[in-house]
């Protein structure tokens, strides 16, 4: 499912990212303290950061292979990405945010436009009452649901989540963790989640990769091994 081999030397400071692992898990968690290189790894997988060398394959598709000079653009990778602070578009309402990927041209979907997939995800996440609201009018939990719906509406091959619960309080974190677990079981979408919270890893991870200082420290769970 996940074949990750990323090497990158950062010019600023002497940080070096060497993250290699293989796993057949459907739900993979990258666990580590801040500064361990989790976000950089996720960005490299999404195509937002180019490694110096390595190979990235996910859900049966090679996204990056330095040896073959292959580097798909973020657009071509067709991944869902949940940003840590959700990165909802502040000038668009909930309906437009969710429908964002469904319109490819230079114009955003209309404020009232009711696309079928948008209706589906609004209903799935019980967001119908906020369909016309703007991101700054939403609670933290609602923002997260909108961001998830937006990522899923584009029918991605896999879902990448950057500290999805960090911005939420403890009670909400617990219920949204369950919700995410159910969602993955229901959709069977491969999911890679990064977190500094061991509870997230315990609840959600079929496999857990521990990172620190840009290196893989341990790999546990379903058919999981550190790479070469």
């Amino acid at each position: 499912m996940f074949q990750i081999d990323i090497h990158k030397q950062f010019a600023a400071g002497d940080f070096r990212l060497d993250v290699s692992f293989h796993s057949k898990a459907q739900r993979l968690v990258l666990l580590g303290p801040s500064g361990a290189g989790k976000s950089l790894t996720l960005k490299a997988i999404a195509g937002l950061l180019q490694p110096d060398t390595g190979r990235i394959a996910l859900a049966g598709q090679v996204l990056y292979d330095q040896a073959r000079q292959l580097n798909l653009s973020p657009q071509q990778r067709q991944l869902g990405y949940l940003f840590q602070d959700y990165a909802l578009f502040p000038h668009l309402n909930v309906r437009q945010n969710i429908g964002f990927a469904l319109r490819r041209g230079p114009a955003n979907p209309g404020k009232q436009q009711e696309l079928p997939q948008v209706q589906h995800w609004l209903a799935r996440f019980e967001l119908q009452p906020c369909a016309g609201l703007y991101p700054h009018q939403l609670s933290g939990g609602q923002k997260q649901r909108v961001a998830l719906a937006r990522a899923l509406a584009g029918a991605p091959r896999a879902l990448l989540l950057d500290e999805p619960f960090a911005a939420l309080d403890a009670g909400l974190r617990h219920s949204l963790r369950e919700e995410l677990l159910q969602l993955q079981i229901q959709t069977q979408l491969p999911m890679l989640l990064i977190t500094h919270d061991a509870t997230d890893a315990a609840v959600l991870g079929q496999a857990v990769i521990e990172l620190s200082e840009g290196q893989v420290r341990s790999a546990t769970g379903t058919n999981c091994s550190p790479g070469a």
Binding site: A46, S73, P74, R77, F83, P90, F100, A101, H136
Partner: protein
Amino acid sequence: MDWRAIELSLWVAGIATLLNLLFGGSLAYLLARRDFAGKSLLEALLTLPMVLPPTVVGYYLLVLLGRHSAIGSALESWFGIRLIFTIEGAIIAATVVTFPLVLKPARAAFEAVDPQLLQAGKVLGLSNFAVFCRISLPLAWRGILAGLMLAFARAMGEFGATLMLAGSIPGKTQTLSIAIYEAVQAGDQHSANRLVLVTSGLCIALLLLAQWLTRRRSVASRS
């Protein structure tokens, strides 16, 4: 009342503002999003028209675009365009003088757009062009518009550089502020008063509009 001078001023300011939307807007985007060698020098050069006296800018333009210069003679022999003592010259002068007024706020507006939103757009499968049209532009346009309004107001009052390049030909290149100067010189208090009031009214209206737009922008981007 000298309506022709008002018409000329509106025309010159309008075209200059459009040109600045095109050039100032795209350069602002480039400066906000790209790093390249000589960026600081380019920025300093582009800001120069704001700090140099307009007569100095006018003089540079005269030397650069005059009939004996390389650019001036090429323009005249290839396209039949003359920039000295023409309305086109007045437009060039107003464009150059007001250029930094568009560049600065437009650049700030583009820089204020969270880069993560642009990344989100790309991951969602949108082309760079669509990301620009659907994220950068809608989030930055109020800042750009505020700059354009300022530039328009400033272009309406342009005097020094315009006089150097386009002169003061009544009905042809004599814009509002030059007409005021000529009226005062000729002792025509009556005309001067009226032209001054019209200019002030137009500029106040534009400033209020610019202020209103900037305020609405800060409310919209609050989250």
